[in-house]
Symmetry: C2
Subunit: 706 residues, 2 copies
């Protein structure tokens, strides 16, 4: 039996040994949110979030007078599923436990020590920060197992949160309490039959029940090992149903439940990237980055997940569900859980299991050199162990990864880094069958760019991606401004237009985030279209550019299949309203125009045009190559008709009968050419591809320049 | 007290349960050698080695009537330090032990079971061979932890050996026996003082003594932990002295001894290979492959070690010593112990410690896909654990590596391969501070070519290597014929000249080894110089070509420092007399002309000429670039005068005052040009670089074409 508690929190004066001012605290939640609510601070607006920097380095205390009922013989436990980040737990003033690490569950037997009315308190220490000089705030996180993003990123404000971020409660336990219960399985080579084996810790016999995806009982009995015949496999979205078998383990006093998704997962080398070059010397090949799910090579298409709330502790199942559902509806099949964001709450993975979204989970390392000091290594080992054991049951989880961009120059880690060797070792020991990457990108893979026009070379995304042959594009972005409604929520009215570099715009990453106006692209907009006449016009142009850029990259990377096997943009959502960002979903749940463009580009079967560049002028010979993209597991064929619409006139470009595209195979078709007519005014033109069969037509906005 | 035994061996008839014919067996040794000696087979000559294929798949048995003296209270052990490869041990007909794996020591307590005169026998099972189709014999080794080279390589005949390859004896042990004793140490960051800690298993107190490299006692006492101040570091050859501290651990009845070499080792990224490219997307960097010894970046120059005997069990300390000493004299500082050859006997590592040769040790995986079947993984785990614990005490050992060319297409393993993840994990757990490579080559590194003219592109080694920018060249070769004296030992007299494809030449790899005449290069020789007039003339030209090729590659790779940090040719020695091979040392200990050329090229300080190609014709504009190579830890300068000697005439090319080359830094100097004069006859010309200071002058043989 679980008893939730009422909590108060406050700033703890460690000199005096007390918290002079207490306020109501939400558990799960973050104490900084409770404090801001108590003080009436709306961190979303303007530069208000800075108000919390004043209390960044304090101790916080949570207190509760315990409320629970225990029968004679019951064991009484205090359970906290996650406390962020360094903390002590006291019962009636006596220290019971100290810990560093937010991912390792706390379970304290307080049977003899606690009674209703006892005071339990949790003292949260200040955030760890590497002392000394560092170029960026995130470097303060380089010996910490907290999500580094809270230390500040170029789309996330500085906001170091902490507190009881997962459920915490008093639990009474009787004989028959099931301390742990986890199913494992082995599929035969034909993927037909599964040997299931439960590992259970309980002081009495347990009855196991397994239900198939239709709810029929396929096993009931006391044996923890049994065979399931003719299993329905778990598939990612677009390849089949995400079949789940519900299980229950029941003792006289307890019941645990969960799901099994039967599937196999491997990481294979990409065809065409492993061939021997002519002549010596020879180096090694690109790392294997093609997901093989149930023996089938899958093109992974999706997005980088970042925390959808600054106050991560308050996130709910509903928030997860709306965000993940939108990705399924956008024809995505994977989220990369970028290391900067750490690990999500349990509901995230449960929803991914249920909806068929594959999860690439990184450990909480990003863009730093995590040097292997003994204290850091001990915390990392304990936290990673907890994470692996906690998450390995999820069929959606297809890949462990050490963290983000650790082998790049701004991080400086490498294959010999002990932290990454430790993570590889732990994954091997605790989760043998799941692949492990030390970091992303690996050899052959690529991250970036993050702008429509490359910051170094000036090339547009069409030129950049059509000239690359990477095995996986696991980060790339095109920014846009937030919608007008969203901007009004964060920027004071008098600063909205004309847009200038005010503190509100800066705080929300419109300026001074990774360069002058990299995300807002004011200068680029001016160069292409001239001075915007209104905020509405600027936002419209910005969002259409983002849509055009993302459409090109997602389709080009699909066209490079099977040499390229992953296309995962930066990023999906955002933790608060940014003035401008690469996200497809504006906080909290506003779908940008680019979302719909990407949704179209990721349809299992779609007509696609390979246009060599974005920007076309009068008199130029416009050209494009037609493709039929097919990620589905069926053969398809179609007839595609192409036309260009410029200033209200439609010009026919030609038609292509595709012939048969084999399952999960694209085909390249006709190259079309057309002399650009006179252009009255610089603006967008539209390339239309109309298919004979429904649901496969495509439209592209390109620039026509007067 | 150890008691060596007299052994007999024979082929064991498993149907009858007996060995009808026994012969004297050497322990340590290989039973196939004993058998060949008994039968009078000289495997070196012609194709005689094939005679042993007839007994390849038999069971062999070793037998001995035990001879030892034990006092009352003594424990009696049978110890075998290594038995190759699957075996059972019987005492008076009763099975005591079964094992697969030649690197895990056997220690059997036979106190109650054995008495002098008891019969101890070791039954060796046939070699494991993967059944089914395979393209090459070596693929039979893909589930075996034997050195794969015995299954046949293109310079090693098929000769599957087995037997008691390391010492085996009866050992009587008293109270005070030291079962294990191993020193560990931690150096402070200034590399001045070391904390030493012994881990010892003994049932009584032990007294430890440590002597400095001059033989002075620096510690004596019962505490297994103590500090050594002002340590003299262990350095590789060319960088300092390979200082060793001798230790002894003594109990009432036993004494163990060994050496500590204090040093730190890391693997760093190569400068110039980690820079960010302009523009996105960005992939990862080259793997770190610069050895940092005691905080100093080292250019690793050396050779690939292969087993210097086909009958590996008979190799002696003297054989190791002469081979390793010759490498030190050739200015080398590293051996790569190629995975195909497995692990050497203890004496090898002891000599490397003593002479300052760094050791890159691979596990026994090469050019196969070692699939993670449970039986193979269990044997690999046990064997690798034994190897790591046995070898980690050696300061010369600077790198563990999973095996050879496992990430190349002909192998098909990759970062996800469980066998390599297991090895990484074991090295991490058992030998935390020593770097680990999953295989060679890694990203950025290169293997090959193995011929003077590239087999695919026809380019000479000058063109190939001057146009590569790899981080490490850890295999490259230029072949030559064996010397005339050696050829006479393996080829029947009537087949010696003119050279034709007879079975003797083929068996010794002159023909049909990796192509028609890839190692012998008869066709290339004919094309360059015309039909050879005698065996002597052919051998002379072949060996001079090898010398010229190796000289160019070693110096070019040195010139690429610090972008390139390793230059390790294929290969050092050979297991028998090959008719032609890339080795620098012909079996057993004949130094080829290329040996002396390489020795010159690897001098710590040397004048070097970068000549764009090998082959020059009359009237052409000859050009070369002068360099001063400096691997030493001192600044150097010199004046270099260059001349070209063609047909007896010496032509002055110019002079360069080098200026100062910083420690471990090369400098590039003048580019010189010269119009080639009339050439009477195609042959060698000599480019001479004369330095002002002694010992740095260089000579190059190049082709001048009439």
């Amino acid at each position: 039996m679980k008893f939730n508690q009422k909590w108060l929190a406050g700033i703890y004066d460690s000199d005096k040994g007390e918290a002079p001012e207490l306020f109501a605290a939400s558990v799960p939640g973050n104490v900084q949110k409770d404090y801001a609510d108590y003080k009436g601070i709306d961190i979303m607006f303007s530069d208000n979030v800075e108000a919390l920097e004043a209390v960044e380095d304090v101790f916080w205390i949570y207190k509760t007078k315990l409320e629970f009922e225990a029968e004679s013989g019951d064991y009484v436990f205090f359970v906290a599923e996650g406390i962020d980040y360094i903390f002590d737990i006291f019962l009636d003033g006596k220290k019971l436990h100290s810990q560093e690490g937010m991912y390792t569950k706390v379970e304290l037997d307080i049977t003899e020590k606690a009674k209703p009315g006892s005071e339990l308190s949790v003292l949260i220490h200040p955030h760890p920060k590497r002392p000394g000089y560092h170029e960026t705030p995130r470097q303060e996180a380089d010996q910490s197992c907290k999500p580094p993003v809270s230390y500040e990123w170029d789309w996330n404000p500085r906001l170091l949160i902490s507190g009881i971020w997962k459920p915490a409660y008093i639990e009474t336990r009787k004989r028959g309490y099931i301390s742990s219960c986890e199913p494992f399985y082995t599929l035969d080579s034909a993927l037909k039959n599964a040997e299931v084996r439960f590992e259970t810790v309980c002081d009495e016999k347990v009855v196991y029940t397994l239900f198939d995806p239709d709810g029929n009982v396929v096993y009931i009995g006391e044996s923890p090992e049994f065979t399931v015949n003719k299993v329905k496999l778990w598939w990612c979205s677009g390849q089949g149903d995400p079949n789940l078998y519900k299980w229950a383990a029941e003792s006289s006093s307890d019941k645990k439940e969960g799901f099994i998704g039967f599937r196999t997962i491997r990481m294979l080398c990409n065809p065409g990237t492993g061939g021997d070059p002519a002549g010596y010397p020879m180096s090694r090949y690109a790392a294997p980055v093609t997901i093989e799910l149930n023996g089938r090579r899958i093109f992974a298409k999706g997005s980088n997940w970042v925390n959808p709330e600054l106050y991560f502790g308050v996130i709910t199942e509903e928030r997860y569900e709306e965000l993940i559902k939108a990705a399924v509806e956008a024809n995505m099949n994977i989220f990369r859980l970028w290391g900067g964001a750490g690990i999500q709450k349990d509901e995230f993975y449960e929803i991914c299991d249920r909806l068929g979204i594959m999860v690439w989970q990184e450990f909480m390392l990003a863009c730093n050199n995590y040097v292997a000091n003994p204290h850091y290594m001990a915390v990392l080992e304990r936290e990673a162990t907890s994470i692996i054991i906690h998450l390995r049951r999820h069929p959606s989880l297809v890949l462990w990864c050490g963290g983000n961009e650790l082998f790049n120059s701004w991080s400086g880690m490498d294959d010999q880094s002990h932290a990454l060797r430790l993570l590889n070792k732990l994954c091997y020991e605790l989760d043998y069958d799941r692949p492990f990457f030390p970091t992303s990108p690996l050899t052959g893979m690529a991250h970036g760019g993050y702008t429509f026009y490359d910051r170094n070379t000036g090339k547009d995304v069409f030129g950049v991606f059509q000239n690359r042959r990477n095995t996986a594009y696991t980060e790339f972005g095109v920014p846009s401004a937030a919608g007008v409604n969203e901007l009004k929520k964060i920027i004071p009215e008098n600063e909205l237009f004309p847009i200038t570099k005010t503190k509100s715009w800066e705080k929300h990453h419109g300026f001074s985030a990774w360069g002058y106006d990299t995300w807002l692209c004011l200068e680029t907009d001016r160069k292409l279209f001239g001075e915007p006449e209104s905020l509405e016009q600027f936002v419209d142009r910005s969002q259409r550019m983002q849509a055009a850029g993302y459409k090109e990259i997602f389709e080009e990377t699909r066209r490079q299949w099977p040499g390229c096997s992953m296309s995962i943009n930066w990023c999906w959502c955002e933790p608060w309203i940014t003035a401008a960002n690469n996200s497809l979903v504006c906080y909290p749940m506003v779908l940008k125009p680019a979302y719909y463009a990407v949704k179209d580009s990721l349809r299992p079967v779609a007509a696609s045009a390979r246009v060599p560049k974005f920007d076309w002028s009068e008199g130029e010979l416009f050209s494009c190559e037609l493709w039929l993209l097919n990620d589905s597991n069926e053969p398809v064929s179609d007839t595609i008709r192409a036309s260009l619409i410029i200033g209200g006139c439609e010009y026919e470009l030609g038609e292509w009968k595709t012939g048969k595209a084999e399952p999960r195979t694209n085909i390249k078709g006709s190259a079309l050419e057309f002399k650009m007519p006179k252009i009255e005014k610089t603006g967008f033109m539209t390339l239309k591809l109309i298919t004979e069969k429904p649901g496969r037509s495509s439209e592209y906005e390109l620039l026509c320049r007067a």
